[in-house]
């Protein structure tokens, strides 16, 4: 690539966990970018053109070419900007394990979160059980993946799993406040809990995560109006 030919834009939304993943990656890599805030009730024509299949954020636009789907964007960023910290390990087996857990978080964990917030009564009680089950699986999986415990993380040592955990659980206090449910329980999931505490201390993370009060207000609005969260 030539110097000065690197135009990077991110179409995102300030409360979107998927959008935050990409912001974290760009900042870890030290990639300058222009951020475009999308109003999800009034999506820009550019967004609809860049992501004609799903019409969602985030979309990374690199020299005019759009890349969509947050996890795919992370891998794209890692492969394109090879200077600076690597987001993924080089070893194919380790990469496979990370991809497995990224898929688990996406399909299984988020799937169960979604059921939790969009159901009530008995169905919601079942959904709560399912969330705890999935969290259990994730905790066990991370324990096996990180037998020495959570490694040191800082602005230079920040990989894809750190990104996923930050974006998913970083704002846990806002989630607890609005939904009245302790998902990130330190007694049930000590590894995940201590990992999140470490991550939330890092200036990089503090600079990216949505402000607590603003997020609480949005989530309460969504909850009261029985809206479905969307990207």
């Amino acid at each position: 690539e030539m110097e000065g030919e690197n135009e990077v834009k991110l179409h995102g939304m300030w409360a979107s966990t998927y959008s935050k993943r990409v912001e974290l990656a760009l900042r870890v890599k030290g990639i300058p970018y222009e951020y475009i805030e999308e109003d999800l009730r009034n999506k820009s024509p550019l967004l609809l053109q860049y992501n004609s299949v799903y019409k969602k954020v985030p979309v990374l636009v690199h020299n005019g070419k759009p890349i969509t789907e947050s996890y795919i964007i992370l891998e794209y960023i890692d492969e394109t900007w090879q200077n600076g910290p690597r987001l993924l390990p080089q070893d194919p087996y380790q990469r496979a394990q990370i991809r497995f857990w990224a898929s688990f978080i996406q399909q299984q964990l988020f799937g169960s979160f979604y059921k939790l917030i969009s159901s009530n009564g008995e169905e919601q009680e079942k959904a709560v059980e399912e969330v705890f089950e999935k969290m259990n699986v994730l905790e066990k999986g991370m324990k096996e993946l990180l037998p020495e415990g959570v490694p040191e993380v800082d602005g230079n040592n920040f990989g894809v799993l750190d990104i996923l955990v930050t974006a998913t659980f970083g704002p846990y206090k806002a989630h607890e406040e609005v939904f009245g449910l302790k998902v990130l329980d330190p007694e049930k999931y000590p590894l995940l809990f201590s990992w999140v505490q470490k991550l939330n201390e890092i200036p990089l993370v503090k600079g990216v995560l949505p402000p607590h009060d603003k997020l609480v207000a949005l989530l309460q609005f969504i909850k009261q109006n029985d809206l479905k969260p969307s990207s």
């Binding site: 070419k65 964007i73 891998e75 794209y76 492969e79 497995f100």
Partner: protein
């Protein structure tokens, strides 16, 4: 070279994706047939999270989830590349792989449903096919260009099984006048020597899936 084993079952489209990838790369492997009604202790040990096939075990280390396995195979055995070599085209390929995973389920749901539910899943499957026809494949011979790649394997299993599932469920959605590109593509796909050699016989698959569907309906 460390040994390669594939735990699978021969009715599974997901298992076939892995077989095709290993064959395309010329990687020798041992196939371990699993009885899905009586899963082996080894399978449960290798895939405790999902307890599903396929599982690739390389040098004793398990890799689960068919598309994760395919990327693992691509990265471990770089000969005969099945992914584009620049990051942008790879990101596009991964987009379609994810699309196949997320939206392809409509086809498996069709297999499991009847009545109104069947109509609903058919509609979902139709939308999926339309998007792929227009945006995914376009005028290309294969999703990966002149030669097949991982995206072709992802959709190959979906479409080949769809053609049989249509017969099993007594419906028709994959019509050639509606999906001219995809129809040409699946014919080309089936004629790739490695694929042709390792494609379940359609008549046998039909009989087996018919039986499976009857069992599912009876226990529902």
């Amino acid at each position: 070279m460390a040994e390669v084993k594939l735990h699978g079952a021969l009715l599974s489209p997901f298992v076939y994706r892995v077989i095709w990838a290993l064959k395309l790369k010329g990687v020798p492997y041992e196939f371990v047939a699993e009885d899905l009604s009586n899963k082996s202790a080894l399978l449960l040990k290798h895939n405790p999270v999902h307890k599903k096939i396929p599982v690739l075990v390389h040098g004793g280390k398990p890799v689960c989830e068919s598309m994760v396995i395919l990327e693992y195979i691509e990265e471990t055995w770089p000969q005969n590349p099945l992914m584009p070599n620049n990051p942008y085209d790879r990101a596009l390929a991964r987009f379609w792989i994810k699309f196949a995973e997320d939206k392809g389920v409509a086809v498996w749901k069709m297999f499991r449903s009847t009545g109104q539910e069947l109509q609903n899943t058919m509609k979902e499957a139709l939308e999926m096919l339309q998007t792929v026809e227009e945006h995914g494949l376009g005028e290309k011979k294969f999703f990966n260009g002149d030669n097949i790649g991982l995206v072709d394997l992802a959709f190959g299993s979906i479409v080949y099984w769809l053609q049989v599932i249509e017969d099993v469920a007594g419906v028709k959605i994959f019509e050639s006048h509606k999906f001219p590109h995809l129809h040409a593509w699946i014919e080309n796909f089936k004629q790739v020597p490695v694929i042709e050699e390792k494609l379940p016989n359609q008549d046998e698959l039909l009989v087996a899936l018919k039986l499976r569907r009857e069992q599912l309906m009876a226990s529902a």
